[in-house]
């Protein structure tokens, strides 16, 4: 068992969802008349969650790179690894924007080094368990982002939370539908379009980059 499977109190509590909830509970609803910007704390909770997600995908990638002997889904690990790394990059993009927003309102972003992630105690390495871990975390993240929208005071902070939330919900439903067997991967389609499995890290554009669904072209209609 490697370091990534070590137990921690935070792991027992459910990872970044628990972290964020505690912070938000302390945040309150009323505007603070003076002092630090009230959005700093909830945004930093989200940033911590993103760093945990990055580390969670790294832990999952370790399993996908070398699935256990006898894992019935070992053959799917290679494309899943590509998707996991793409989505880890999404979380990095989220973290970058959150850190910039925190700095812009006079706060100090938490550092990635200060955030720890441990897999749940009941987790055992397998491809299926990696998918379940990611799905559980993405769902929790989406819920936390939505709750944080209600805690944030400024519309720009709410927008940032919302545009990230809609990415977490896409990650979640892809994993959920796969795990439930409602959709199945098409091997040939996956090879040619693997980058399209949640194509952008944001729903609506953040900053100057073409980083959102706004830059995804509409489908054209055809006779077929």
């Amino acid at each position: 068992m490697t370091d990534m499977y070590k137990l921690s109190r935070r792991g027992l509590l459910g990872g970044f969802a628990a972290t964020s909830t505690v912070t938000l509970a302390a945040c309150g609803d009323d505007p603070v008349p003076s002092g630090p910007n009230p959005d700093i704390t909830p945004l930093n909770a989200l940033l911590s969650a993103e760093y945990e997600a990055i580390k969670a995908y790294e832990a999952g990638a370790g399993v996908l790179r070398m699935p256990p002997t006898g894992d019935p889904q070992a053959a799917q690990s290679a494309p899943l690894l590509v998707i996991a790394m793409n989505w880890q990059n999404h979380h990095r993009a989220h973290a970058t924007q959150l850190a910039a927003a925190i700095t812009a309102i006079g706060g100090t972003p938490v550092t990635e080094a200060s955030v720890m992630f441990s897999v749940p105690t009941e987790f055992t390495p397998s491809v299926a368990n990696v998918l379940k871990l990611a799905c559980n975390k993405e769902r929790n993240a989406a819920v936390i982002y939505n709750r944080t929208v209600k805690a944030l005071k400024s519309t720009s902070s709410r927008f940032l939370a919302g545009t990230i939330e809609g990415d977490e919900t896409q990650h979640f439903i892809v994993l959920y539908a796969l795990l439930k067997g409602i959709v199945a991967a098409d091997a040939a389609g996956l090879i040619t379009n693997i980058g399209e499995v949640v194509p952008k890290p944001f729903v609506a554009q953040v900053g100057a980059e073409m980083n959102s669904l706004q830059s995804v072209a509409d489908f054209m209609f055809s006779a077929s």
């Binding site: 256990p68 896409q170 067997g181 399209e196």
Partner: protein, 230 residues
């Protein structure tokens, strides 16, 4: 069919029309800086989103009607039954969104637009013909436009409950979008549980609403299983 009549709206895709409409509403809200004006701005934005929900329901009605009797020469005819199940489920979630928006508008002292005043027309100027894939394309484009519109609405909604609802609905439109997108891109196909568990394709109609017991927070985590090494 009256819903198919040509109109000015036909010249825009559904998604583009939605974005344009919300953009106009956002512009209106940006003008008003005082609290009262902000409240009116919120109602305007919410009513634009409500209109889009009513249009989405009508669009899905048309799609469901087609999926029930696809053309004999439709190359994706075999997909129509599964597409109908998905469309019916998504339509029901848009109906829920519409009801939630209308209630919120009323609570903000606004007047929700009447569903009967909203008419959706299929595109006529973009080579739209009735095929299974074209209805899926139409839905995918519109869901993407809706997701963007809900997210951009957060820039202007001053009422925190309105912002919470917009985010909660927007996070469901994104789920609708990506499933349709992956099916159309050929990355995904209907799985073995597509007919028996179709409501799980988007298991809740909102992501998170304070006090709700049926939002995404109520979906249980997957439990981990050990590999059986027989």
């Amino acid at each position: 069919m009256s819903n198919d009549e040509v109109s000015r709206r036909d010249t825009l895709s559904t998604g583009a029309a939605l974005l344009a409409g919300v953009g106009a509403a956002l512009a209106v809200s940006a003008i008003g800086r005082e609290a009262e004006a902000q409240g009116a701005g919120d109602v305007s934005v919410l009513n634009t989103l409500l209109r889009a929900e009513y249009e989405a329901q009508q669009a899905y009605d048309l799609a469901i009607g087609y999926f029930g009797a696809p053309a004999m020469d439709d190359p994706a005819r075999s997909l129509a039954p599964a597409a109908s199940l998905v469309a019916t489920h998504y339509r029901s979630q848009h109906a829920d969104h519409g009801a939630r928006l209308a209630r919120l508008i009323t609570s903000l002292q606004g007047t929700p637009i009447a569903q009967s005043t909203v008419i959706f027309n299929l595109p006529t100027a973009m080579n739209f013909t009735r095929t299974t894939k074209n209805f899926l394309r139409l839905a995918c484009n519109a869901e993407k436009g809706a997701a963007i519109a809900y997210t951009n609405a957060l820039k202007s909604l001053s009422n925190v409950t309105a912002a919470e609802l917009a985010a909660a609905i927007g996070g469901v439109e994104t789920q609708h979008f990506i499933v349709l997108y992956l099916l159309l891109k050929g990355v995904a196909t209907p799985g073995p549980a597509a007919t028996t568990m179709i409501t799980e394709i988007s298991p809740r109609s909102v992501v998170a609403i304070e006090g709700e017991t049926t939002d995404l927070a109520s979906v249980p985590d997957f439990t981990y299983t050990a590999l059986s090494m027989s």
